[in-house]
Symmetry: C2
């Protein structure tokens, strides 16, 4: 079981590293250069970097978690399939967007309503699945305690909105070389560690937890971490490829799926703090702008562009976000231990 | 107990962040600019960056682990005191070296023999302490199993050499902006997670483990992680300060002390792989040079300079080392779970 978890991480890493160069060459050949979002500060030189590099992570996560999941046969349906479904269907929405932008060269991609419609289908479907699954149910855990909070029927709309929010937060944070990849490498590792804790002591995961269930989710989280580290080989500053909406929605969907299956969505506030902060900064900026009739609270949103305008380099911001994610992830891990 | 562990990380972080600017100003005023090691590739512009910034980590680790250790009164002597003693006495050797270089402006610092003599005293003393301590003893754990390997009296010389090797590996890796700080932030987090696992399930740590003992070592590891993240605020590329031998020997000593007290020195091969690789590359380079009468296997050693000469930027190398450390740390954490 534990060796399989290691296998998942290493297979995902190797897949991303091995498919990377070929994928990048292929994407370049198709003239898949991204049209850089015009409002980004001084990123004009990034024109021409192929987008949709996230596909190498998708390949890694798929192979790693399919070959090496430690689930019994029924566990595949309980855990492996839902995780992959949410991650890859979320990715499909992003992929459609990237495809229209890069191939059809239409800057606007999918319309916002098309995107949201796609995301609603995925996240509503997944919330319904969790609600009715005997392994998950409508109760969520309260960090630092052994208590659970049963949301009842409200679980469905709340979690639907949460999954959409997380996927879009992930998407919004993907704006600097290596940023989301680094943050998700750390956050996925944190989820993996939480799964390991539940594996060795199922009581930490609450009544519905099983050793194999937690190990299976953990193998998926490890595959995500391995895929991110592999992808960073090509995405760290200066990036040879971007993950695109393809990649950011894959990672956001995968992260949300892990959190919900573990009944720990509240831990997203710690482990996925920086992507949520990215979303929050966009929302705050927009409302502040409306309220004050034209003033801005940040120099630019999402907030990583604010830091860029303040004079921090891309690599400095990535390092800062990674450090924040690391410490908050440790607190999240401790919160699970404290629920004993 | 768990809240104290969080406190240790946050106090260490806050201490490093708050003392940082003042310390840097003070060090600059004393003209503590480091003379850059002449063989480093194109780092001449780093001349004048104040060294001994590691002191802010020292302050953070000291305050964090003293204020927030979760040990009972006797645990202070069993764990808190030995951890701090090894870390700070190792640091003292590095500090003496930095002091001679920076204040007395003698490029060579302590003589190699003076350094080694100081390190032998510290590591021999600590190995003797572990050997005679009822909480540690002469047996070390074999990763992935519940087995222990009793080294008997050989524990003392082997661990003495190991501690010296780890401290010097840490020292050798400290050659690029943010490199050792980032790697140690991750590796310390891994130690903290291992301590958390033993805290929730003492069987994972073997017969001598206690909940409070593991939590106390964990609080120290969390203080190290917090201090590293805080320090990186000032050390990430482009660095405003270097940690110096002061900092690198502090981190090396602290890491070695954690590993020995947990009876998991073999896990250093995974968690502290990249610093060990730095040492190994220096040794390999030297012997290859002697054997071949003048040929080099790496363009330059330690190996991070080899990568620099190969055209990778400092931030790329830091990111790569961090990714390797993250994945190997996860494997180390899994190995502890697998010992159940």
């Amino acid at each position: 079981m534990y060796y399989r978890m290691i296998g998942a991480a290493l297979i995902a890493l190797a897949t991303a590293l091995l498919t990377g160069p070929r994928l990048i060459r292929y994407l370049k050949k198709l003239h898949f250069g991204q049209t850089i979002y015009e409002l980004g500060p001084s990123h004009q030189q990034k024109q021409g970097t192929p987008v949709m590099g996230g596909l190498m992570m998708a390949a890694g996560i798929l192979l790693g978690s399919l070959i090496c999941h430690p689930a019994e046969w029924d566990g595949i349906w309980d855990f492996v399939f839902p995780l992959l479904a949410v991650a890859f269907l979320s990715m499909a929405v992003g992929f459609a967007d990237d495809y229209i932008k890069a191939i059809k060269k239409r800057h606007d991609g999918l319309s916002p309503w098309q995107k949201i419609a796609g995301q609603v289908v995925v996240s509503l479907g997944f919330s319904l699945y969790c609600y009715f699954s005997p392994r998950v149910g409508s109760a969520i855990r309260i960090p630092f305690t052994a208590a659970e909070w049963d949301l009842g029927i409200f679980y469905i709309p709340v979690m639907t909105l949460l999954v959409i929010f997380i996927v879009n937060s992930s998407n919004l944070q993907d704006g600097l070389d290596g940023l989301l990849g680094t943050v998700t490498a750390v956050s996925s590792s944190a989820w993996a560690v939480i799964c390991l804790l539940i594996t060795v002591l199922p009581a930490l995961g609450g009544a519905g937890s099983t050793t194999y269930g937690a190990a299976t989710i953990g193998a998926f989280a490890l595959a995500m971490a391995g895929a991110c580290v592999g992808f960073l080989r090509f995405n760290r500053y200066p990036a040879k490829t971007f993950m695109g909406d393809t990649g950011s929605m894959l990672l956001g969907g995968g992260t949300a799926a892990i959190a919900l299956l573990l009944r720990q969505p509240l831990l997203l506030a710690l482990i996925f703090f920086t992507p949520i902060m990215s979303s929050a900064s966009v929302i705050i900026q927009r409302y502040y702008y409306k309220l004050t009739h034209g003033k801005r609270i940040f120099l630019m949103s999402p907030i990583h562009h604010h830091f860029e305008k303040k004079g921090y380099s891309e690599t400095q911001i990535v390092s800062m976000y990674a450090g924040i994610t690391l410490l908050l992830s440790l607190i999240a891990v401790i919160s699970v231990c404290a629920s004993k």
